[in-house]
């Protein structure tokens, strides 16, 4: 097992390396002069040239890449000009907030999705199946940002149950209860789409598994139906559900961008959109590389979970 984890980690190194190359190349395609963007259009040519030198922009592309990579390996992601703050500090703080939101949603969508999909499959064509299928369809068809806006209108403005936006109340907040009150709506809005996808997949995976011969064997042994469904069938279905959970984590992280904007959540998605609009390249680069690296590591955890479940995967 230890060997397998080590192997997966080693294999991740070229992937992370590739990510930095892709991000760097995309950013290098940006037309125009970053120094001008930073200094504004009234900058003197001397100032622009000096800043370019300071930023290392007068060097060739390959050299710039390796300087950037080397600095990152030392934990130096550069300084954001729009926030006038080290990129890494901003990214860590923002990512932490996103993690609270996206993590909650991910747990919700995994648990709800698998349960809903399995119930739906076990009661195929029954009322529960039809109801779940309809709700799931609605879930995967509604834009999460629109859903979030409607939730604000109903639960915050109309019913006044929950706060409109933000992560903590401005006055007197800051405790866990306050966080949960602020977290409820965005986490739910974010979870809905992913829940739909997980539920659909779980349903079809369960239907596929329930037709297998080994399910018939279990029934022929006299195993109780509840154990056939929640033991034999779900366990086998998890083999095809788990890899999709890895992909879904990416969708939840992506959806977080919209939700953070709708609910004014101080997460990394909002930071990135602002940084793009401000053309704060170092902040965009640093943020993207950091989040993508975390996602790669998360997917390694998913693979390890998969190998624990399925003995046929050689460890």
């Amino acid at each position: 097992m230890g060997g397998y984890i080590l192997k997966r980690l080693l294999l991740a190194i070229p992937v992370i390396f590739g990510i930095t190359v892709i991000v760097f190349l995309i950013m290098a395609m940006i037309p125009g002069d970053p120094a001008t963007a930073i200094l504004g259009s009234y900058a003197t040519p001397d100032n622009v040239a000096k800043l370019n030198r300071d930023l290392g922009l007068d060097k060739p592309l390959v050299a710039r890449y390796f300087i950037w990579l080397g600095n990152m390996l030392h934990g130096d992601f550069g300084t954001s000009f729009s926030l006038n703050r080290p990129v890494i500090d901003e990214v860590l703080e923002r990512f932490n907030n996103t993690l609270i939101l996206a993590g909650t949603s991910f747990v919700l969508c995994t648990v709800l999705g698998i349960i809903a999909g399995s119930v739906s499959a076990a009661r195929q064509y029954g009322f529960a199946d039809k109801a779940i299928t309809f709700v799931v369809l609605l879930g995967i068809s509604i834009p999460s940002f629109f859903l979030g806006m409607m939730m604000i209108l109903i639960f915050a403005v109309d019913l006044r149950w929950l706060p409109v936006s933000g992560m903590y109340a401005i006055y007197g907040g800051g405790d866990l209860a306050d966080l949960i009150r602020h977290l409820t709506m965005p986490a739910l809005a974010l979870a809905v789409v992913a829940t739909g996808v997980v539920a659909r997949l779980s349903r079809s995976a369960m239907l596929e598994v329930l037709r297998q011969d080994f399910i018939r064997t279990a029934r022929a042994k006299g195993v109780k139906e509840s154990r056939v469904i929640w033991g034999h069938a779900l366990r086998a279905a998890m083999v095809s559900i788990i890899p999709v959970l890895g992909i879904q984590a990416g969708f939840v992280l992506s959806g977080a961008v919209y939700i953070e904007i709708v609910f004014q959540w101080p997460g990394i998605g909002r930071m990135l959109v602002d940084a793009i609009l401000q053309r704060d390249i170092l902040l965009v680069q640093g943020g993207v590389v950091f989040v993508a690296t975390c996602y790669v590591i998360f997917n390694i955890i998913v693979d390890v979970a998969q190998s624990l479940l399925d003995p046929r995967i050689k460890t």
């Binding site: 590739g18 990510i19 892709i22 369809l137 834009p143 209108l153 022929a220 086998a236 399925d310 003995p311």
Partner: protein
């Protein structure tokens, strides 16, 4: 193609999706022709008019622009961008996927590493990075969304192509002189296109949502031009004061995406061949029973297990497949009954019907009884049936790799077979499992108990299958072609094991097979099935030495036997009838040399004296005489 539309139309939800989608597309197409106010004309005096205001059916936005006009023009834009993105991603992704999957090896490795790299990003990060590089704008958003989705298509199509590239028809095309590019175009592509269509129809909705999302963030369409996403984005600041400006475009997106998703599901179902046959429905815990005449719940029978006039059918759409039509048989303790027939003869369905294990839907038991010591199990309530399964009547199935759970250790599967009928402690269960493995002559049982099925050979797995059937000391074992998937030397081992077990334990065995040699060696009596009925039954050697039914006689004759040397074989002309369209009278008559007009009319009874019986008007040997 017309069959495809018929299938699509049968799915009411998909039809609804198609109609709504059609309406939206039609509206989008005729938008330029409609007498609408220019969507970009501002009129700050008329800001935020509510819906149903004079001159503005849906009201106006923050700059006093007509919402109806903006909505329709926005819909047009969103649809166009969504479709374009889906098409571009599908074509590019499919091309990459087919090349990687078909050429495999190094090409595949390099391409898929690149794809993996792109998939290592949460998709929006990549989209944001691309938009950041190209600058905000609708066309750039379209490019970003397409590029981000190419890996999904590429992976999906590659998987399908790898499967196809190993199909025998690709080898056959090679031997017909086709070059690789020609094979891709003429053999692979036609089989991949339905998958591309399915993938596209199920992702267009996504593409529309994603482009709308980028516009919502202000990175897609730029003012004054608006698609649905940017309308929502601009309206967000006035969400609380003027919700209608948000609600209207939001609902439009919902309607579009939902109708596309409904339609996409319909397209998938219509194109997916597995669903055509209704195969993707889940079998219930027990076969559905729908008997017109209910036989008595309890009677006296001479056999331990006996079937009385069993009828099992498969109801698929409007067709009724009469898999088993009126089978009666019985076994005594210590006796082995062989049931022999070709594929489609109903022998396996008969075996599975006994304990309600026929997949249902589509299977239905429509008549008859299966009695264990006189007690009918087909009509029994499910909890009772479950308690009999594996405890009194146990099964051994054909393919031991598919019939054992791949993720449980064989020991745990054995222990479960015991523990679902009686409480047993962990250590006792383990001891009993080891004992069972030893009883089926598995070497190193103490170690083997912790193996997974894939770690064992086919013969060893089938021994585990037999051990599992023996776990609760059942009275009857139903073995459904237990040696068909095994090599001949392994088959001999398994048959000898089964034979010993039955003598030691006095088991009654119903042995389903297509092999006369196996029947001859193992079974006391044999029943021959053809087209869902028993055509002949009797003591094994009597039937084999002097078959009475012409089918039995000709079937025995056309099987080559070892030691016969090179020769011309006796063949039976024609094909077995399809069980959804059985002829009246004898089902074998169209292939039978002895058939006369009488054979093709009315029911023919299974007639005979003592243990021998035959369902034939003109049998090869007279059973009555012979027994007398």
């Amino acid at each position: 193609m017309s069959a495809f539309f018929k299938l699509l139309a049968r799915n009411r939800l998909a039809l609804g999706g198609l109609i709504v989608m059609g309406l939206v597309v039609a509206l989008a197409l005729i938008t330029p022709l409609l007498p609408l106010i220019d969507p970009d004309v501002t009129n700050t005096a008329d800001r935020y008019l509510p819906p149903f205001s004079p001159g503005h059916l849906l009201g106006t936005d923050q700059l006093g622009r007509d919402l109806l006009s903006r909505l329709l023009w926005g819909t047009r834009l969103s649809l166009a961008v969504g479709f374009a993105a889906a098409l571009f991603a599908a074509v590019a992704g499919a091309a990459v996927g087919i090349i990687a999957g078909f050429y495999s090896g190094r090409t595949d490795n390099i391409i898929m590493r690149g794809v993996d790299m792109l998939m290592a990003f949460p998709y929006i990060l990549l989209a944001l990075a691309i938009v950041a590089a190209l600058g905000p704008g609708l066309v750039n958003a379209l490019i970003a969304v397409s590029v981000v989705n190419i890996p999904f298509f590429a992976r999906n199509i590659r998987g399908i192509t790898v499967g196809l590239a190993h199909k025998e028809f690709v080898d056959a095309a090679r031997l017909s002189g086709m070059s690789n590019p020609r094979i891709i175009v003429s053999e692979i592509l036609p089989n991949v296109i339905p998958v591309i269509v399915i993938a596209m129809s199920t992702t267009i909705g996504w593409m529309i949502l994603e482009t709308a999302g980028l516009s919502f963030l202000g990175l897609g369409s730029q003012p004054p031009q608006a698609d649905l996403g940017s309308m929502l984005g601009e309206a967000r600041s006035a969400l609380i004061t003027n919700p209608h400006t948000s609600v209207i475009p939001g609902i439009m997106i919902l309607i579009i995406v939902m109708s596309i998703n409904l339609l996409g599901d319909g397209v998938r179902d219509a194109l997916d061949p597995r669903l055509k046959s209704g195969a993707l429905s889940r079998p219930m815990a027990a076969t559905r029973v729908d008997r017109k005449d209910k036989p008595a719940a309890r009677t006296q029978t001479d056999g331990l297990l006996s079937l009385e006039n069993l009828h099992t059918q498969f109801h698929v759409k409007n067709r009724v497949y009469k898999a088993v039509s009126g089978v009666s048989l019985s076994v005594k303790p210590g006796e082995c009954l062989g049931v022999i027939g070709e594929s489609g003869s109903g022998k396996s369905v008969t075996a599975l019907s006994i304990m309600g294990l026929v997949a249902s839907p589509p299977g239905v038991i429509t008549g008859g009884a299966a009695r264990l010591e006189g007690h009918d199990m087909i009509g029994a309530p499910y909890p009772e049936l479950r308690s009999l399964r594996g405890r009194r009547v146990a099964y051994i199935f054909q393919d031991p790799l598919a019939t054992l759970h791949p993720l449980y250790k064989v020991g745990d599967q054995l222990i479960e077979a015991i523990s679902c009928h009686r409480a047993i402690s962990k250590s006792d269960g383990r001891a009993k499992a080891i004992e069972l493995l030893k009883s089926v002559r598995i070497p190193n049982a103490e170690q083997r108990i912790d193996s997974y099925p894939h770690e064992m050979s086919g013969g060893m797995r089938q021994r585990v299958g037999i051990a599992m059937a023996l776990a609760n000391d059942p009275d009857v074992i139903i073995a459904d072609e237990p040696t068909t998937a095994l090599d001949v030397t392994v088959q001999a081992q398994i048959l000898s094991l089964l034979n010993d077990l039955r003598r030691e334990r006095g088991l009654a065995i119903i042995f389903i097979t297509h092999d006369f040699g196996v029947v001859a060696q193992l079974c006391d009596r044999v029943s021959v099935m053809y087209a869902g009925r028993i055509v002949e039954t009797g003591p094994t050697m009597a039937v084999l030495n002097a078959p009475a039914h012409p089918y039995t006689a000709r079937l025995i004759a056309c099987v080559p036997e070892l030691g016969g040397g090179k020769r011309k074989l006796e063949a039976i002309p024609g094909l077995p009838p399809s069980v959804d369209d059985l002829p009246t009278g004898c089902a074998f008559a169209p292939r039978c040399l002895r058939a006369q007009d009488a054979c093709k009319q009315g029911e023919i009874a299974l007639d005979g004296m003592g243990p021998r019986a035959v369902r034939c008007l003109f049998p090869e040997t007279n059973v009555a005489e012979e027994t007398a």
